[in-house]
Symmetry: C2
Subunit: 323 residues, 2 copies
């Protein structure tokens, strides 16, 4: 099955018919005008063995993470979370204790993110999966995908940590080390960038934004090619923020793969309107948010990575969720 095929199929078939549907299909969340307000809605599914694994995550971690991941789509639009629904497939034989733990995770997420669980749907079947739909409000303007040549590309934090954590989880070693724990938690407890997103949105300087779910390469491609397929970019390897601890657990050959193709970081990836980089960086300092310029959009049609002056095309491929 080809994701692109389906995307094209949907784009073709479903022409935006209602004026209230502001952005159209294909963004991180749909924006709907409702009276004088705008709501953002997004759904996300999490399947055991594909998006998480019961083998190395506790039930409460799984449900908590599912809400975090769904909220990241709202952050990518510059929207503030309001509420969510959960649709659960619970495996036959799940104990009451386990089910309680799953709801403990939802409860903690509701508390931490100040969003209300308003409803759901529960089925017992042969597999364990969670489907989360989040609804938020766009208070200023929503931030779409689609960049312009000449703009600077930024990320909101370390890239590759979550994928490194996932790889370590699969090794099933027990290492008592703070660096090790930090990487594991990057995968197990991703933090949706809601706070930073609100500040970014309020600057009025962001031209496009996406959250990194499927890896820096793939999501950068989605971000810049949304409006114009002829755009490309050059990313400076040394400018990509990454944890030094990657070097402790992975070979130098492996690290670019983890950083460029590894997903699940849920950091924001965005571009700034041309000519406003200085202003944006001043505001970022003032507001005490971390933002990292990592490259430039160009008209090459290709995404290059520049490693110590050595410019290479990033290989096609990228991240496929599979455990």
């Amino acid at each position: 099955m080809n994701e692109n095929y389906i995307y094209k199929l949907v784009k073709q078939k479903f022409h935006k018919k209602n004026k209230a549907f502001i952005n159209g299909i294909g963004d991180d969340a749909a924006i709907w005008k409702f009276g004088k307000k705008q709501i953002a809605i997004s759904c996300d599914s999490h399947i055991d063995g594909i998006h998480f694994s019961e083998k190395f995550m506790k039930p409460e971690e799984i449900s908590y993470r599912a809400v975090s991941v769904a909220l990241s789509d709202l952050a990518a639009m510059g929207a503030s979370p309001l509420f969510y629904t959960n649709s659960l497939n619970l495996k036959k034989g799940f104990s009451s204790k386990k089910i309680k733990k799953i709801f403990d995770g939802f409860h903690q997420a509701s508390k931490d993110y100040k969003i209300e669980l308003v409803g759901g749907n529960i089925v017992t079947s042969k597999f364990f999966s969670l489907d989360i739909t989040v609804v938020g409000e766009v208070k200023s303007n929503y931030i779409p995908r689609g960049s312009t040549s000449g703009e600077t590309v930024y990320v909101s934090g370390n890239i590759g940590s979550a994928n490194a954590g996932l790889r370590l989880l699969k090794r099933k070693e027990i290492i008592k080390d703070e660096n090790y724990k930090e990487l594991l938690n990057s995968y197990k407890r991703p933090k949706p960038k809601i706070g930073i997103s609100k500040i970014l949105s309020s600057t009025g300087l962001i031209s496009s934004m996406i959250d990194i779910t499927d890896g820096l390469y793939l999501d950068l491609k989605r971000l810049i090619k949304f409006k114009n397929n002829k755009l490309g970019a050059t990313i400076d390897w040394n400018k990509i923020p990454k944890l030094h601890s990657l070097n402790l657990f992975f070979t130098p050959r492996m690290i670019p793969k983890i950083v460029l193709e590894g997903g699940d970081d849920f950091e924001l990836l965005f571009t700034i309107k041309k000519g406003f980089d200085d202003k944006f960086q001043r505001i970022s300092k003032l507001k005490k948010i971390n933002v990292f310029p990592i490259g430039k959009i160009n008209n090459s049609g290709v995404i290059y990575i520049d490693i110590d002056g050595n410019k290479k095309k990033i290989k096609e491929g990228g991240y496929i969720h599979k455990l």
Copy 2:
């Protein structure tokens, strides 16, 4: 797993914290105040082998039906549909043609119900399932669950037809007969009662409402016991509208089981404010909607069925979705 256990768990854990969340957990859809407007949101999952079967339904019928079923929850609240999202698990090996057919069904549903598909999520995995989240608007007042003793119980149409259709589908016979086809279609193409729901809502006379998904008995129990566990009801068997063709394909012993316990009809089940039955029935005639009084709410705590003057307790049990 016990549905009641989970419901109690959620009710206990998730106290309504935000004033905007009007009705609280446990209704057909959640109602959220958004500026001066109210939105209704509900999610529904459909799993191959539980809620539908690829063995006797075409891909386009499956997706169309999933949207219809989700919309029925909005109808049960008196809400008008606005838009929906779909989260799909497609089985490995599904052909492009099949995927196209699935989207044909969504497209037809979008057209027929005038609701926009605003986004979704697609995963390839080991099973086929669809998760639909619908959002609607409550234009007058939303209609909750929870009846009062002395009120009359109504349904909006024939009961048992869908379950009869499902049973016939499983027999896998081919019978060229209009009655047979009508029963099959009752299961395959349920019609959410959106039009009737709007009229019911506009009368201001409906005290409580639910849609029949899991059978007349089980949903009546949910409707009347929502606020007060001590309520009961007596239903008059002869007043329940049902297709005569049930007698052509099922034994007299089977029919009460189909009508009282069979789900998937998606008819509305509701009560009228005490003393307003005459007024309500006058309005119904004027507006040309079919409504059928089938019994009365009482304080017995028990649901009785009266068959030709013979009053019997309806057996616990009811409908479990399984194919």
